[in-house]
């Protein structure tokens, strides 16, 4: 019987899998890497599908470089780059960018500042002139600094009108405490108000140096021509020694504690449960990804099946390992109506306990492997995804092997690996809880989950 079954399977495979043989050798397209004489790193990847060229910058300074009580400085600096250069004011920059249908965005995380830009091939020279000007020659006009700080403070207030847009910030602050990963990346109502134009200028002078800069381009260009275009514009940037910040490895929380944020108009409770997780360089990250796919990483995951599919308690429940230079958070996240808060929290904890007790089945393992392999190509499909992927690999000190070995690492994972991963990386008894909801209805159950309970109103500045 078995043989017949296998034989039939093979027939199907041969008929409908002509590319299966290639599946285990999915590779990043080739790209070249070089350094400018001032120390800036450049990565170039040709992809000629559509007449678009994408850029991804990674600058090795993020919110962990913010001075104490000036949280949000890295983020504000990144924002203000486009608000005026030596030769263009803010209006001209916007107008020049929009005129060619270009895109330009800056962002900041704990570890780095990112920039992304995209232009039609025909506009590449104007596009590059513009980004080089923005990166090399910003002047940070006082009135733009003042304006942007006011807008940022209002944006934080507006974000607090939506629990799901701020719960992550409260969770990081409560989980990491005084560790730099606990400080708000975009600042808060108080820290932003303390930032001056001089702070912004100093942050720029210290951190925006060629040796900190990785610039990746992907899209419809020839490598030799793009190299020339970039050298022309970025070679004049003077070399300078970077001043990296040293931060300690964060320690996982011991025991249990809970923070309740009161948002009196809530009809649902939003909650995160988790602890400190893993770094991007963790040698087990692929196997951890496989187990997390089954635990809370896809629609049929154990968490979503229990909390959504089987019980209708929520629209969605998930878990994730956020991977950074240092260990990022592991989180279980979901929401449910006020009256079912306790039921949903108990259920989430039960699913976690079951993972430790029962583990996963061989069938589940095979399904998760197929799922991750089947979905992965769409994450390196576009020029912007490719540029961002190779720039980040460079930042983490990794190379294309990280991607090119992805399928074989998935294939190699065993049930024994899964058992070890669960024990080693999924928290069990040490858990941090953050809830946003209507305290009047849910406060009494908080102490059931942790001996330490903290509460504050959502209107209180900070996170």
């Amino acid at each position: 019987m078995n043989r017949i079954f296998l034989f039939l399977c093979l027939c199907v495979l041969v008929f409908s899998h002509p590319l299966a043989a290639q599946d285990s050798s999915l590779r990043l397209p080739a790209f070249s890497k070089f350094q400018l004489r001032n120390g800036m790193t450049v990565l170039l990847l040709e992809q000629h599908e559509v007449p678009i060229i994408s850029f991804s910058m990674v600058l090795k300074a993020g919110s962990t470089s913010d001075p104490q009580s000036k949280e949000g400085l890295a983020s504000l600096t990144a924002d203000l780059l486009r608000k005026g250069t030596r030769t263009r004011n803010s209006d001209q920059i916007s107008s020049d960018l929009d005129f060619i249908g270009g895109e330009f965005d800056m962002g900041v995380s704990t570890d780095f500042t990112t920039g992304s830009a995209e232009f039609l091939k025909k506009d590449i020279r104007q596009g590059l002139d513009l980004i080089a000007d923005i990166i090399l020659n910003p002047v940070f006009p006082q009135e733009e600094v003042t304006k942007r700080i006011r807008q940022r403070i209002d944006e934080i207030k507006s974000a607090k009108d939506r629990a799901d847009s701020v719960i992550g910030r409260y969770f990081l602050a409560y989980l990491y405490g005084k560790h730099p990963y606990g400080r708000p990346v975009d600042g808060d109502e108080v820290s932003l108000a303390a930032i001056t134009r001089q702070d912004v200028e100093r942050f720029y002078e210290t951190n925006y140096v060629p040796a900190n800069m990785i610039l990746a381009a992907a899209g419809d260009f020839s490598t030799s021509e793009m190299r020339g275009l970039l050298e022309q514009r970025f070679n004049p940037w003077p070399a300078k020694n970077p001043s990296p910040v040293r931060i300690e490895e964060p320690r996982p929380a011991q025991g249990k504690r809970l923070l309740l944020i009161d948002k009196p108009d809530s009809t649902q409770t939003y909650f995160y449960i988790g602890n400190v997780g893993i770094t991007r360089m963790n040698p087990d990250r692929v196997a951890i990804g496989v187990v997390n796919t089954l635990f809370g990483g896809r629609f049929t995951s154990k968490l979503n099946t229990a909390l959504r599919v089987d019980s209708g308690l929520t629209y969605g429940a998930r878990s994730s390992f956020d991977q950074r230079r240092m260990a990022g958070p592991f989180t279980i996240a979901t929401y449910t109506r006020n009256a079912t808060t306790e039921k949903a929290m108990d259920m989430a904890l039960e699913v976690l306990a079951n993972l430790h007790e029962k583990g996963i089945t061989a069938e589940e393992l095979a399904s998760a492997k197929a799922y991750l392999k089947g979905q992965f190509p769409t994450s390196i499909e576009t020029s912007s995804q490719l540029a961002s992927t190779i720039a980040r690999l460079e930042f983490y000190g990794l190379d294309e092997n990280d991607i090119n070995s992805y399928y074989s690492k998935i294939d190699a994972m065993t049930m024994a690996d899964a058992r070890r991963i669960i024990q080693q990386y999924f928290p069990k008894d040490n858990l941090v809880f953050v809830l946003i909801g209507k305290a009047g209805e849910i406060q009494s159950l908080a102490k059931k989950y942790a001996p330490t309970v903290d509460t504050k109103p959502i209107t209180q500045p900070g996170f």
Partner: protein, 440 residues
Amino acid sequence: MKRLTLLLAGMAIAAATATAQDYGIKTHQLKNGMKILVQEDHSIPNVALYIFYRIGSRNERPGTTGLSHFFEHMMFNGAKKYGPKKFDETMEAAGGSNNAYTSNDVTVYQDWFPRSALETIFDLEADRIQNLNFDEKMIESERGVVASERRISVDASNIGLLYEQLAATAYTAHPYQWPVVGWMVDIENWTMEDLKHHFDIGYSPANATMVVTGDITLDEIVKLAQKYIEPIPSRGLPPKVTTREPEQLGERRVVVRKFAQLPIVMMGYHVPEAANSDYYPLQVLRTILFEGESSRMYQRLVDKDQLAISINGDYTPAFDPTLFEITARPKEGVQPDAVEKAIYEEVERLKTGQVSDRELEKAKNILLADFYRRMKTINGKANALGRYEVFFGDYRKMFTAADDYSRVTKEDLQRIAKKYFTDKNRTVATLIPEKGETRQ
């Protein structure tokens, strides 16, 4: 998460323009009436398969609002061959993932998978189109899921909440007046019979268009469709929606007071459906007013006068006359009426003065770049092709849109500004914060 209903205009395939480039679209019509569009793209070993059903909240009635969206959820809850949970389990084990969305006009099912899963996907789709199972227990569980979705997209989102009030006020007759997710009381009261009726009127193969893009060929898609989809008999089409919204004869206003830190101002002007020739100048006008930091509204309200932290304009393709929506978030301490006044002044400026050549050209460039960006992924291609076919009547409109936009003149912009952006044609919704009691 999946099955995310795009209740606002988040699904806007804003405006699209294209060169006359031929993207190699092939079509096939099945005997049961379903049309198939195929675009080969072998850049990654993956496939996107979208099925557009021409049925949405516009086909509903008071008492069962939100039914199309609820039905969309039920399409994942088990059929004959693949019982409860099996649709997702089978698809994910084959390396695929899925989502779906419902709007006023359409319900769209999206599958993304490695080409090795192609036949499995056809088997799964055919099973649920033909033999969907209505299980009482699954209905009750899914009712809770949808209620939770409504709480996150309306109760917990001031913009979602205000939009619902705007639409309910701007329309008096047309079904666009109720929310796609449905009123909570309707969510609580749908019956099995309602679901079965919805299936009967909306899910005939002739009411659907399938779009497949990626690492496939037309021949293999046609073969699989003939095997799995063609045997499904055609039934009738949904009853025609004949209601037209009467002309609005004066400004309407609605106010929402609730716990919040910042106010919101939203307004809607009645504008035509996607198939109307004013669609193109209206999209150019929207781009000039709202796209990018150099746009007129951003410059005026966010940058110069510093009245708002953000301002957006949306105009989404629709089957019937719809709303051009403007949303502004006033800064702390700024009265909503100051924001309103500035918006009206910018609108008046379009009526009395002409836009510059550079502004017009910029808008056309932005629309062109947007078009290419959507073409970067097989998913983007599948969605865009399907939306042109369904909303504009022909996928080829996607490739001629460049010409349609290039014909838009400064005079057109002035004409449509005068025609649609009048006080009488306007509905304004404002959210006023109430500082509630918070416990310490």
